[in-house]
């Protein structure tokens, strides 16, 4: 049928927690599903967008996959113990769930090293957008640090910022990051920055919680 097999990274992280034999069994079952997905559908359920996805029970495991007939892909979306459905990440990640409405703040004084690199020749030395984004991201990171276990970190996934007004070097900027949504390991923030005069930036930022061990493993694999 020539479907392409695609595997969600959280599925791989789950496999990494299993004994070698189970890793091998599941890996090979994914390949079998790719060859003949209909054969391995034990039940069909729907997600929140009414996609119809398949559940396959394989020994003590449940595998959830989606057949994208248009794109000719088989996406392995989830794998978990059949008697512990889909709660692994929610239960095990983070020592406490970040609370919606939590606000973090960070203030900094703009220095010459934070200025746009094209200052001079008539261009004033003002805070550069990349530097501002760095401070905003740090504000969000520190806001959720208290919710994480020692072996966890949050990493930036998305940022959408409108830099609205210039701030001269020497000016103080106050950044705020408010948690507005928590979905499993992903946390969304509404972010803002103000100088002494006005709102200078606002936007949205999304961070994901990672475990250092599995993240390092992923980075090492990429480095070859």
């Amino acid at each position: 049928m020539n479907y392409r097999l695609l595997i969600d990274y959280e599925v791989i992280e789950f496999l990494e927690t299993l004994p070698r034999r189970d890793q091998r069994l599941l890996r090979n079952r994914f390949m079998a599903i790719q060859s003949d997905p209909q054969k391995f559908s034990d039940y069909v359920e729907s997600d929140s967008d009414s996609h119809r996805l398949d559940i396959h029970i394989y020994g003590k495991f449940a595998i959830k996959f989606w057949q994208d007939h248009a794109g000719r892909d088989i996406k392995i979306l989830d794998a978990h113990f059949a008697d512990q459905p889909n709660r692994r990440l929610k239960e095990n990640l983070m020592k406490s769930r970040p609370k919606i409405g939590t606000v973090g703040e960070l203030a900094f004084q703009t220095e010459a090293r934070h200025a746009v690199e094209f200052a001079g020749n008539g261009m004033p030395a003002v805070l550069s957008t990349p530097q501002l984004i760095g401070f905003i991201e740090r504000t969000a990171r520190e806001t959720m640090a208290g919710f994480l276990d020692a072996d966890e970190r949050s990493i930036g996934m998305e940022i959408e910022i409108r830099h609205l007004a210039p701030t001269l070097v020497g000016g103080t900027v106050h950044c705020t990051a408010r948690i507005i949504q928590v979905d499993d390991r992903k946390v969304d923030f509404q972010v803002e920055a103000r100088d002494a005069h006005e709102l200078i930036a606002r936007g949205l930022h999304k961070r994901a919680v990672i475990r250092l061990e599995s993240f390092n493993r992923r980075v090492r694999a990429k480095a070859g």
Partner: protein, 70 residues
């Protein structure tokens, strides 16, 4: 019907029916978990480039191409 009776009835089914019943029970649990169902939808809507291939899985799990994974 008690859980024990339910388990007994389940174990009396053939293997196919047991799998289907287990999958059905899991779908019932999933149906009550809106966040999880949204997460599945999010994964389905993600571009292919955000998924791993079987080759990447093999690298991550240190399966050699010719032996362990096969």
């Amino acid at each position: 019907m008690s859980i024990e009776v339910l388990k007994q009835e389940l174990s009396a089914l053939d293997e196919n029916a047991q799998r289907q019943m287990t999958a059905f029970l899991i779908s019932l649990q999933d149906a009550r978990d809106d966040a999880y169902r949204r997460k599945l939808a999010d994964k389905i809507n993600r571009p292919s480039s955000e998924f791993a291939t079987i080759e990447e899985l093999d690298r991550r799990l240190n399966f050699s191409e010719t032996s362990e994974g096969q």
